[in-house]
């Protein structure tokens, strides 16, 4: 696994250079309906030496793919370029980029020294002819080149939209192969764009629904490796797992970290009844949070850790409820037609994503935390299990196709409901969990 030698942001231009990001005309407001993607150009980054040539090309391609993948930007093909950028320091020929209607321009250079790789880049507002913010450089190892590309793209995205990026992040998921009645499942982790897939378990036991710790170093998941569903925590770096002991003879599943990473909330089945419990990770002690004859599962903490949204069928059908993080009276928030499940609190705290089943179709949707302004983003035979991008702008989920040859795969969609895209994985995929931005 690659590690950044340093993640310091080093200003290339001197500190006296003004920052235009917040006031310049080059700005996408994501709160409004963006219909027309912003045209941009990423000419191949300039290699400092022949050893850097392939990295320079590849990094600029990944930067462009990240931006295009948002649906908010449209790349102008290099076939249309009038200017060639052969030096990172040479003045930009703005007229040439204006002529092909590139509103944003990203230029960069790549240096390779042994296994050390350095990327420098600048973002230009073509129509004002000015730099958008300061140039930056990232340094790391050559095998971590994709992460540096994602960091460049995160900078471009956040300077133009004013929102945090999400490209330098990872997704844990369940890799699936084989037919429906003999499906093999393995826990896996990958970059957000499907690159660098790494398997974390073999397919000997069913594994379900991983969730990242707040810092991304651990995963919680459910496995049948002991013969019955139990909760495990896995150290991602060392790929070492450990069972989190719950009461003997019970089944436990649906574990999620609290925002401070010190405790988990999970479902425990006793005598056929499923309730929510909370475990302090230091002591291993669990306390009960719900106590009803109904099914209570799929919990998710609010980002401030004070509340938990969860799914319960206490009204007769599965619906969404919010209760205080230590248990107590729960308030129902879903009132539309159909069945609601798998609520996930957005990292911004303002929305709850969910799965909805209505009239034989499944939907991924979002609603405000009081249940108002419900919007369905997708519709298919079986969509489920939404997870939020670190900036709360994109939702990834799994979609299973119908019938005997049905297959599960991962998709992402913007919270506006636009830009539905498959996320490519080597085999089938389900239960994605989007991790935090990496350092």
């Amino acid at each position: 696994m690659m590690k950044l030698l340093t993640s310091l942001f080093v200003g290339l231009t001197l500190l006296s250079a003004p920052v235009y990001a917040q006031s310049g005309p080059l700005r996408l407001e994501l709160t409004e309906g963006i219909i027309e993607p912003m045209p941009f150009a990423v000419p191949s980054f300039v290699p400092d030496s022949p050893a850097a040539a392939q990295y320079a090309t590849d990094i600029s391609r990944v930067v462009a793919a990240d931006l295009t993948g948002t649906g908010l930007f449209r790349e102008i093909s290099s076939d249309a370029f009038i200017s060639r950028v052969s030096s990172f320091e040479a003045p930009v020929q703005f007229a040439d980029w204006k002529a092909i209607n590139a509103q944003a321009l990203v230029t960069g250079a790549v240096n390779v020294s042994g296994k050390r790789l350095t990327v420098r880049f600048r973002i230009w507002d073509v129509f004002s002819g000015q730099e958008l913010g300061n140039g930056l450089q990232f340094a790391g190892t050559t095998d971590g080149w994709r992460r540096m590309a994602h960091k460049v793209a995160d900078q471009v995205y956040s300077r133009i939209t004013g929102e945090g990026g999400y490209f330098d992040s990872r997704v844990a998921f369940v890799s699936e192969s084989g037919p429906k009645d003999q499906r093999r499942k393995r826990l896996a982790i990958m970059d957000y764009d499907g690159a660098n897939v790494q398997y974390l378990t073999d397919s000997a036991a069913i594994v379900l629904a991983p969730r990242f710790s707040p810092t991304g170093d651990r995963l919680l998941y459910t496995s049948y490796e002991s013969g019955r569903p139990r909760i495990y925590v896995l150290d991602v770096g060392r790929v070492k797992r450990q069972e989190l002991k719950t009461q003997d003879g019970t089944m436990s599943f649906s574990p999620r970290f609290s925002p401070d990473g010190r405790s988990i909330v999970y479902s425990l089945i006793q005598g056929g009844n499923t309730d929510l419990w909370k475990m302090d990770l230091a002591s291993g002690q669990s306390v009960r949070l719900t106590n009803t004859p109904a099914i209570e599962t799929a919990p998710s903490y609010s980002p401030d850790g004070t509340q938990i949204v969860f799914e319960s069928d206490r009204s007769g059908t599965p619906q969404l409820y919010i209760m205080p993080a230590n248990g107590g009276e729960a308030t129902r928030i879903s009132f539309g037609q159909g069945r609601y499940g798998t609520p996930v609190w957005s990292p911004r705290g303002d929305l709850i994503a969910f799965t909805k089943q209505n009239k034989g179709r499944f939907h991924i949707g979002v609603m405000r935390t009081d249940g108002s302004e419900e919007r369905l983003l997708t519709a298919s035979f079986l969509d489920e299990g939404p997870t939020w991008s670190p900036n709360g702008r994109v939702i990834m989920f799994s979609r299973e196709t119908q019938g005997a040859s049905g297959r599960s795969s991962l998709y992402s969609v913007d919270i506006s409901g636009r830009n539905l895209r498959p996320v490519r994985t080597p085999d089938g995929g389900s239960d994605p969990a989007w991790g935090p931005l990496q350092n």
């Binding site: 379900l208 629904a209 009844n273 019938g403």
Partner: protein, 167 residues
Amino acid sequence: MNVLSKFAALGALMLIAACSNNDPSALGGGAGGSGAIQPGSPSDPRSPAYFQQTVGDRVLFAVDQSTLSPQAQTVLQGQAEWLLANTDYTATIEGHADEQGTREYNLALGARRANAAREYLISRGVAGNRIQTISYGKERPIEICSTEECYSKNRRAVTVLTGSTLG
């Protein structure tokens, strides 16, 4: 459930009822003849194969439900009688759901179904410590089409025998 499958279930029920009228152990002991019954074969009333095929090892549930239908209760009555007569065996009841539902909810629903079957067996005299439950949610369908015909077979609780004689 459509009318056809209701009739099919009724047919199975009558067959099971006919079998459960006889004491399985008496049947096993009394069927002398010249080796007509191979021990362990489906015709041996003390065999797991007999339990699986003749008594019936599974009960089915309606959409989202874990209540036991009259047919399911009859099958479980037969299972209870068999377990009471064959005390070497213990059982694990596996609860399952069809694919219409979210993964974690269905895991909980499968547990409810397995428990409903377990409670019934206990109510008929089987010791609770002989019956474990596990839920597979929607992870282990036996039928893979995406129609009610398959779904109805996947919404099930299956009683799997364990015990020293099975290794």
